[in-house]
């Protein structure tokens, strides 16, 4: 379950987000300053803000500052938005927008929240696996990567694919992937490392976000996969190295590789 920080002064808007957010949890801020504080201190995976939340303040400028400070935390902008504001919001780095008239459609808002929570890691890992692992294997990895914020476990993955855990293990072997448990461990670590790229994020905050009981538990997971401490990995190169190591544990589907070679 992921944590979402929200700045929505209007009661109906809060209700709308509350209806659309499950299974994720929402913490509320009452000012932009409070929103920044929540994102810095708590394991927040995405933020939602009404750009008209504070009178006499340029909401778009606040969005720009947020995106500069927290480049990896997606910010969904909410509110009555005119053409100029929408244009400026795109330039300011807003992740997505929820125009007021769509706010009470919980399916639509739910989709937007999910896309914000899932946007980062899945495409990154998928791009690395392309050409190594076949389409079925990659679909499984994408599915799992998108649900890391929901703290997905191996039985959940098996159930979602309509198979038993042991069948899932055999499939992973056939597709040239690590065992399902190891795959989820890797994805959690990669997810966490990506968050650590953001200035001000602590290892503890990221660990909680991933469902670990403490920062130490997350450090142990890093040691079990990459073999070191998280600090040297807090850079784009560190994440790159981690992705390379993950890839070395994915031999891939031989049939797929042969097809690629001959095709």
């Amino acid at each position: 379950m992921a944590l979402i920080a929200a700045l929505l002064p209007d009661r109906l808007d809060r209700e709308a987000l509350r209806n659309a957010a499950p299974p994720h949890q929402v913490v509320w801020a009452d000012s932009w300053r409070e929103l920044y504080r929540l994102v810095r201190k708590q394991p927040v995976a995405a933020a939602v803000a009404d750009i008209h939340a504070e009178d006499r303040k340029d909401g778009v400028l606040r969005v720009y500052r947020f995106a500069q400070r927290f480049p990896i935390t997606p910010l969904i902008v909410w509110g009555e938005l005119d053409g100029r504001e929408l244009f400026r919001l795109g330039k300011a780095g807003a992740w997505e927008v929820v125009p007021s008239r769509d706010a009470d459609d919980r399916y639509l808002v739910g989709e937007i929240v999910r896309s914000a929570l899932n946007g980062g890691l899945a495409p990154l890992v998928d791009a690395r696996l392309r050409g190594v692992v076949g389409e079925d294997g990659r679909a499984l990895v994408r599915f799992a990567a998108e649900r890391i914020p929901e703290q997905i476990q191996v039985p959940d993955v098996a159930e979602a694919h309509g198979m038993s855990v042991s069948t899932l293990e055999r499939r992973c072997e056939r597709w040239g992937l690590p065992t399902p448990g190891r795959l989820l461990l890797w994805l959690r670590v990669l997810y966490g490392l990506r968050w650590l790229l953001e200035p001000g994020r602590s290892v503890e905050s990221v660990a909680y976000q991933l469902g670990y009981s403490s920062g130490a538990a997350f450090r142990r997971a890093i040691k079990a996969t990459i073999g070191g401490r998280p600090s040297p990995l807090r850079s784009e190169q560190g994440l790159d190295r981690a992705l390379d190591l993950f890839l070395s544990e994915c031999p891939g589907d031989g049939v797929y590789q042969r097809l690629t070679a001959t095709g």
């Binding site: 053409g83 100029r84 244009f87 919001l89 330039k91 780095g93 997505e96």
Partner: protein, 421 residues
């Protein structure tokens, strides 16, 4: 401007606001284009079958209710209403074709960023759903809109991809259109031999395939090329051959427009009038009709027929509600009517039209029209101070031009004759 992939879905549909953020009217228009495309992006992101029908319909209905922000006579309102109606169908073909057509409507208003976003969305949808023919169309239209925005390298890349794919799929007409578009791009960049070479290749292949559409496509562009190069008789030969190869109707109109311009430059005003009259009588496309109506009026002034010019001008102004919301047409009409007023000596009217044309061209960044309007207004002001410009030279028509003019007149009489019972 952030790259498209780094902004939220459909954001590029607002991109024409760059440098014009305070234009409230454009802001309203851009917002509706953005909101209308969001449901399609939603299907693209989630998968067509995964978006609940109720929620999708509700999202579309919400945009439809906001169309009232545009005037009831604004053609874009009807285009958007039609687009929203068609995407309700949720079939890949309906979605892609509606998105492409909406992109073309936006492109014709001169808003290239929004048009680009619509074409890119159509391309992504066509790729997702495996619609090969639509992929080629979207690629070619991307080439065209980027060419119009003078983003040459990107335009060439899309055109080349459209050429490659249409060749692979055996889509001869798509191939010819893409080759033609790329040749025009080369032409605009001054690479005349390269452009001519491509058009001649299209012509050669069209003749080998005995495909009239392909041959006519090449001939029409060769006509434009000859017209630009000042080789008017050659332009008439190419254009007149092309007219007779394509089916009567909308496809003929751009070629007839080019023929009209060549005739007018040769002083064969009656033949030019016939060309424009045919377009006016047969075209259902508003932009084409508006352009032809302005040309039709101007040619009367060029022929020195002040009375006919004033009548045609009055008729055009009486229907202003039909074109005032379409910025490209509006600029074109004010520029051409302004030029006509200069020619017949209606100085005050000329000044008013040219100033309106300049204002519109500046606002919408129609650089070519802006230059021409400023130039004409400059000549008008100079004339008011007693400086008389040299009269524009009119070429003497040769035998070929005279022959084609008489053939056009006969063709026009037949085409415009009421159907006999």
């Amino acid at each position: 401007m952030p790259e498209r992939g780094n902004a939220f879905p459909a954001w590029l549909a607002l991109g024409d606001l760059e440098g014009r953020e305070r234009d409230a009217e454009l802001g309203r228009r851009a917002r509706l284009r953005f909101l209308a495309l969001r449901p399609v992006h939603r299907l693209l992101g989630q998968g067509i079958d995964r978006v609940p029908v109720d929620s999708y319909e509700r999202q579309i209905e919400g945009v439809r209710e906001e169309l009232g922000h545009l005037s009831a006579r604004d053609p874009e309102r009807a285009h958007l209403a039609n687009f929203l109606h068609r995407i309700r169908e949720r079939t890949p073909t309906a979605l892609v074709s509606a998105t492409i057509e909406m992109g073309e409507a936006i492109e014709s208003a001169g808003h290239y960023r929004a048009a680009e976003e619509y074409y890119l969305t159509a391309l992504e949808l066509a790729e997702m759903c495996g619609l090969g023919h639509d992929q080629t169309t979207a690629l070619r239209l991307l080439g065209r809109v980027l060419r119009k925005a003078a983003r040459w390298d990107e335009a060439e890349r899309y055109y080349r991809e459209a050429i490659r794919r249409s060749e692979e799929m055996g889509q001869r007409q798509q191939w010819a259109r893409a080759m033609d578009g790329l040749a025009i791009a080369y032409w605009y960049q001054g690479a005349y031999p390269k452009a001519r070479g491509m058009l001649e290749e299209v012509l050669k292949r069209g003749r080998e395939w005995r495909d009239d559409f392909v041959v006519a496509t090449a001939l029409n562009s060769l006509c434009v090329a000859a017209l630009t190069a000042g080789d008017l008789e050659q332009a008439l030969e190419y254009g007149w051959t092309a007219v007779r190869l394509v089916q009567e109707g909308e496809e003929q109109n751009p070629i007839l427009g080019n023929l009209g311009r060549a005739f007018a430059q040769l002083g064969l005003y009656a033949a030019a009038e016939h060309c424009y009259a045919m377009i006016l009588a047969r075209s259902t496309d508003l932009v084409t009709r508006n352009q032809a109506a302005a040309d039709y009026a101007l040619v009367a002034a060029e022929a020195g027929n002040a009375e006919a010019f004033r009548e045609r001008r009055a008729a055009l102004m009486a229907t202003e509600d039909q074109w005032r919301y379409e910025p490209w047409s509006s600029t074109y009409i004010h520029l051409h009517i302004g030029r006509g007023c200069v020619l017949i000596g209606d100085v005050d009217d000329a000044r008013e039209h040219l100033r309106k044309a300049i204002k519109l061209a500046e606002k919408n960044r129609y650089n070519e029209q802006l230059i021409r309007a400023e130039e004409t207004l400059g000549l008008l002001e100079a004339a008011a101070e007693g400086i008389r410009p040299a009269p524009a030279a009119v070429e003497r028509p040769g035998a070929v031009a005279v022959r084609i003019a008489s053939e056009v007149e006969a063709y026009s009489a037949e085409a415009l004759a009421p159907a006999s019972s």
